[in-house]
Symmetry: C2
Subunit: 312 residues, 2 copies
């Protein structure tokens, strides 16, 4: 079940463009986000694949301001606002609410490992209480391979009881369908919207009552992923899913974030898009050539990207 006025569908953890001095590039960012919206894909900016955890809080606030200032619809935005430090999570979430964002995607504090559900509950509760805005919609971000701090069913249960309506859903990037299913079975009937962490599980998620997906690959393959979301009940859904899996499979053979950026650089005709911030490293020329060739072989295109002015 999805609730009215809630974000659903396909969202992209939008990759963050950097200038050659590694500073953020708001102009390119606005253009990329605008192009994604034309593809019916929402803006989960500041996700893992956005290199969000390589950005300062000030940089995130500036980028978000620039998006909204450029006239992009904040209702389509679900910025990542979960940081290690409580004051940063509060500041970012409150700012997102002030701008009218449709929701926020919240990592648990991820430095300290082996923390209790009690501590995580208190952490999310403090953010909610301090933001103090009934419009707040929090999507819990479960990505144990990276954060190493899981969002358990028990934790969601406590949060939903304490903050119904505000705790609005989750993104499951565990890659474990059993976990996604556990979220759906336990909380799907309570207005808790479950997003798969990649389009790999999009069809399965929709068939089991999910709300869509938030996927790295939506940065480069937004149209076809959004089309499956829009038409998942139609006869060709499994065929669509297979085609999406093929593209995802190719990209997954390379380091994800550099591969996404290299693909945008290639198809947008804008080499500077390939820049990543340390500790990540860009693809080698050999990796880039091989990726482009593999994607070309699968008939991959990025329609409208060049026209959208992604290039400076």
């Amino acid at each position: 079940m999805t609730t009215k006025d809630r974000i659903s569908g396909v969202l992209s953890p939008v990759v963050t463009p950097f200038k050659s001095d590694l500073s953020t590039d708001p102009d390119r960012f606005v253009r990329q986000c605008r192009w994604l919206l034309t593809q019916d894909v929402g803006l989960a900016v500041f996700g893992t694949n956005s290199e969000a955890n390589s950005l300062s809080t000030e940089e995130k606030i500036e980028l978000l301001d620039r998006l909204v200032g450029a006239g992009l619809d904040p209702a389509r935005m679900m910025p990542g606002t979960g940081c290690c430090a409580l004051p940063d999570s509060v500041r970012l979430s409150a700012h997102a609410m002030k701008l009218g964002c449709g929701g926020v995607l919240m990592l648990p504090p991820f430095y300290y490992k082996g923390v209790s559900d009690d501590g995580l509950f208190k952490s999310f509760a403090e953010v909610i209480e301090r933001v103090g805005d009934r419009r707040l919609r929090i999507y819990l971000y479960h990505i144990p391979p990276v954060s190493q701090v899981p969002i358990t069913v028990g934790l969601i249960e406590r949060l939903l009881k304490a903050y119904p309506g505000i705790v609005a859903g989750a993104k499951d990037s565990s890659g474990d369908w059993n976990n996604t299913q556990a979220y759906l079975v336990n909380f799907g009937s309570q207005g808790f919207d479950v997003f798969a962490g990649s389009e790999t599980f999009l069809l399965q998620n929709m068939r089991n009552g999910g709300a869509g997906c938030i996927s790295a690959t939506a940065n480069i393959n937004p149209g076809p992923i959004a089309r499956l979301f829009a038409t998942w009940k139609e006869a060709d859904a499994d065929q669509q899913q297979a085609k999406l899996d093929q593209i995802r499979g190719i990209v997954s053979r390379y380091p994800m974030i550099p591969a996404l950026k290299a693909t945008i650089a290639h198809h947008g005709g804008d080499a500077s898009w390939a820049t990543v911030r340390p500790p990540l490293v860009a693809l080698t020329p050999e990796q880039r050539a091989s990726l482009v060739k593999e994607l070309d072989g699968a008939g991959f295109t990025m329609p409208g990207l060049k026209d959208s002015g992604v290039k400076n």
Copy 2:
């Protein structure tokens, strides 16, 4: 080998006091740091045990300013300045240099996992280049159980070659003596100072050319740990080590940070010291009572703590 004018000895990753509203408590912080200095223990503020990753960059800057403003010697300070985001690491490290800190203890960016030594090299190199201060002394912080991102021998080799003098040493919190030894054997003769991550390895580290230790337990047992550092060549060194191990062993049976804070609260007569920030949780009353009893049974005391005005 340790180099002149370099920090050596015992340092404490000073626990950070919070008020009941979870804001930082600079007054208590200054008093605690002053007491530690009277015990011949240096100030590795903003370490893992300082809940540093639950503090915003602004909060760290304010606390550091308060310490120096209160007249504490910045040469005795090795603040933790390694953050996920490059701009934060640069800002904090530059600020520490401006204040004249003896060094900085630097975590690698720790959100993204499985990153390459190339990417980590670039990350540290960018910080060094952007701070642009020849006085900078970086101590690399290896704590794989928490950061999940290791500081390998190969990485240190590259950094030492590129930035001799600036890359000044490491703290090894792996708990693996073989790793500490590898640092010592490979780099000990190059002016690279190796600090053990706890006093458990203090004597062994000194006997193998190490520079001291940076230990959580130095928050509560600073005098005896500093005495072993000062007298490690004397006949009773093994006995001293055994006594340190006994105290450490007791504390280690409890969650470390809450246990340190509960101990300071008890021996300082100041209950508010027990406050931790989420996602950590304070000890239960039962845990607290049991910890105090165990420490009392081992003859544990915190001389001078109450007199130092740790209590408000």
